[in-house]
């Protein structure tokens, strides 16, 4: 059972990291970024290319995965989402745009990166035994880094001026503009931050998992599940949702037949949302 709990911790931390980026974008732009998984995947490939193909250090690749995918997000905001949002009658259209982007990125990645599964050399070797459970050192490094990233992001959003402005923008764009905030710049930055986090999580997790061009959609769907559980648009909700899903998945696999685990998780989520339509803490950026 220790192993199951440790699994839940690792899965939960990685999920929380994945859920953060999508939440940021959702809360500031009201865009459900269906391309999140694809950006995650690209982040993984960025690290792979820097680390394995170009032979540079993993950590350098990780920084690059944040920057490159973040810039990609800035471009997406400036050239795709903003012009469309200015002219749409029904804001759901942005969902369609995100979906188109997802398909585009995925098919492009298939041509550029090929169909194979990729991995990077281990960032740490050895395995720690804890009360009879096994925890590879690589995983420890990754979840520590992930936890630090999550904490840093929360601090940034919660206590810096820019973070405060991001939160404000999520609630009322016009009122935010009236405080002297340059919305154009800030929303591009916010979008970039969200996608950058997607890239970063993909880049970080490639160290213990692996990445391939088709991984995106499944990641996106899981990310949606997490933010639904936690409450769409709430940072702490995303983190909580990540941990809850990680826990459900690990414990579910341990106690139930594998084929029923996700069916039951889906049913739990459906029932839960019926009872609590806004997730655990559904308010924008509480």
């Amino acid at each position: 059972m220790t192993q199951v709990m440790l699994n839940a911790l690792v899965v939960g931390t990685t999920y929380a990291l994945i859920a953060l980026g999508i939440t940021i974008i959702f809360s500031i732009m009201k865009v459900v970024n269906f391309a999140h998984g694809q950006l995650y995947m690209i982040g993984g490939f960025v690290v792979y290319y820097f680390n394995v193909v170009f032979g540079l250090p993993f950590w350098f690749g990780l920084v690059m995965s944040f920057l490159i995918v973040g810039l990609l997000g800035v471009a997406m905001e400036l050239f795709l989402f903003r012009p469309v949002m200015l002219r749409v009658k029904r804001e759901e259209v942005t969902m369609l745009l995100a979906m188109g982007t997802a398909v585009f990125l995925e098919s492009l990645a298939l041509i550029v990166f090929g169909e194979k599964q990729r991995g990077v050399p281990p960032i740490a070797t050895g395995i720690v035994e804890l009360f009879g459970a096994r925890l590879p050192t690589g995983r420890i490094v990754v979840i520590v880094v992930a936890a630090m990233l999550i904490a840093a992001l929360m601090a940034f959003i919660g206590y810096t001026k820019t973070g405060r402005a991001l939160r404000a923008m999520a609630q009322d764009r016009e009122a935010t503009a009236l405080q002297g905030v340059n919305l154009k710049w800030l929303s591009a930055m916010g979008f970039g931050l969200g996608t950058g986090l997607a890239g970063l999580s993909g880049g970080l997790l490639v160290a213990i998992f692996a990445v391939h061009t088709g991984a995106g959609t499944a990641i996106s769907i899981k990310a949606f599940l997490m933010i639904m559980i936690g409450g769409a648009g709430v940072l702490s909700g995303a983190i909580l949702g990540g941990f809850v899903l990680g826990f459900l998945e690990s414990v579910g696999y341990a106690l139930l037949p594998g084929s029923l685990t996700f069916l039951i998780i889906f049913l739990i989520v459906i029932c839960f949302l019926i009872v609590r339509p806004n997730g655990i803490m559904g308010k924008p950026w509480g």
Partner: protein, 238 residues
């Protein structure tokens, strides 16, 4: 009295709807002027054009000898214009403190920000009690105080107020009125006040403009307008 602020021939349109059709007005430094007029007369549209939320169709807006129309809200705010928008528009899921600090977004002098925050909390003791509370859970009057305080945090030299008494209990309306006179008197902030409560508007301001369907129908010193028969009938209830 120098004209710190002036508008010339401003026109604002929403699609095919022409909301403001050639309005000119001026405000001197340290003056309170008011805009009154029927519903849909275009009062809010003028304020939105001044802060750059809505791009004017034509006309000029001058502030401190500089033309500011066509600039973005961020630049206009940076020049010392602040607005309390219609319906308060506070950030409901942020604490009162964060709401107030948002007002100081443009400012770099952290010490000054801290002391101004202190000043506002002293002026509105009720906000001090609720400093950590989410602003959305405050009552309407308290929210109005947050909106006013937030606008002041940017240290404006021109404050635009869009119907600050809307939906506010009479006792609080008086408090807001006192507040407007005091910041004008003590801090020398110029104010453009848009009000349906014409009595209040004419009392507080030195100069008033009466707007009808996007045009200025009447203007003059407020105490004179208050005596005008047409104004009395249409806006002061007899």
């Amino acid at each position: 009295m120098s004209a710190q602020f002036s508008i010339r021939d401003l026109a604002v349109s929403y699609g095919r709807v022409r909301a403001v059709k050639g309005v000119s007005l001026t405000a001197g430094e340290g003056q309170i002027i008011s805009l009154i007029g029927a519903n849909g007369a275009g009062k809010s549209s003028i304020l939105r054009a001044i802060t750059g939320l809505t791009a004017p169709e034509s006309g000029e807006i001058w502030f401190d000898g500089e033309r500011i129309d066509g600039k973005g809200p961020d630049q206009i705010v940076a020049r010392g214009v602040a607005m309390v928008p219609e319906g308060r528009r506070i950030f409901p899921f942020m604490s009162v403190r964060d709401n107030l600090l948002m007002g100081a977004y443009r400012r770099k002098d952290n010490a000054g920000v801290a002391s101004d925050l202190e000043g506002i909390l002293t002026r509105f003791p009720r906000l001090r009690e609720r400093i950590r509370q989410q602003a959305g859970s405050l009552s309407g009057g308290e929210q109005q105080m947050v909106a006013l305080g937030r606008a002041l945090m940017s240290k404006p030299r021109l404050l635009l107020l869009d119907e600050p008494s809307l939906g506010i209990a009479p006792i609080i309306v008086r408090e807001i009125a006192r507040f407007i006179t005091s910041i004008n008197r003590d801090n020398g902030v110029s104010v453009i006040l848009v009000e349906q409560n014409s009595r209040m508007a004419l009392k507080l301001s030195s100069h008033s403009y009466v707007l009808e369907t996007g045009k200025i129908a009447l203007s003059g010193p407020s105490h004179e307008l208050a005596e005008n028969d047409d104004v009395r009938r249409a806006y002061l209830g007899g």
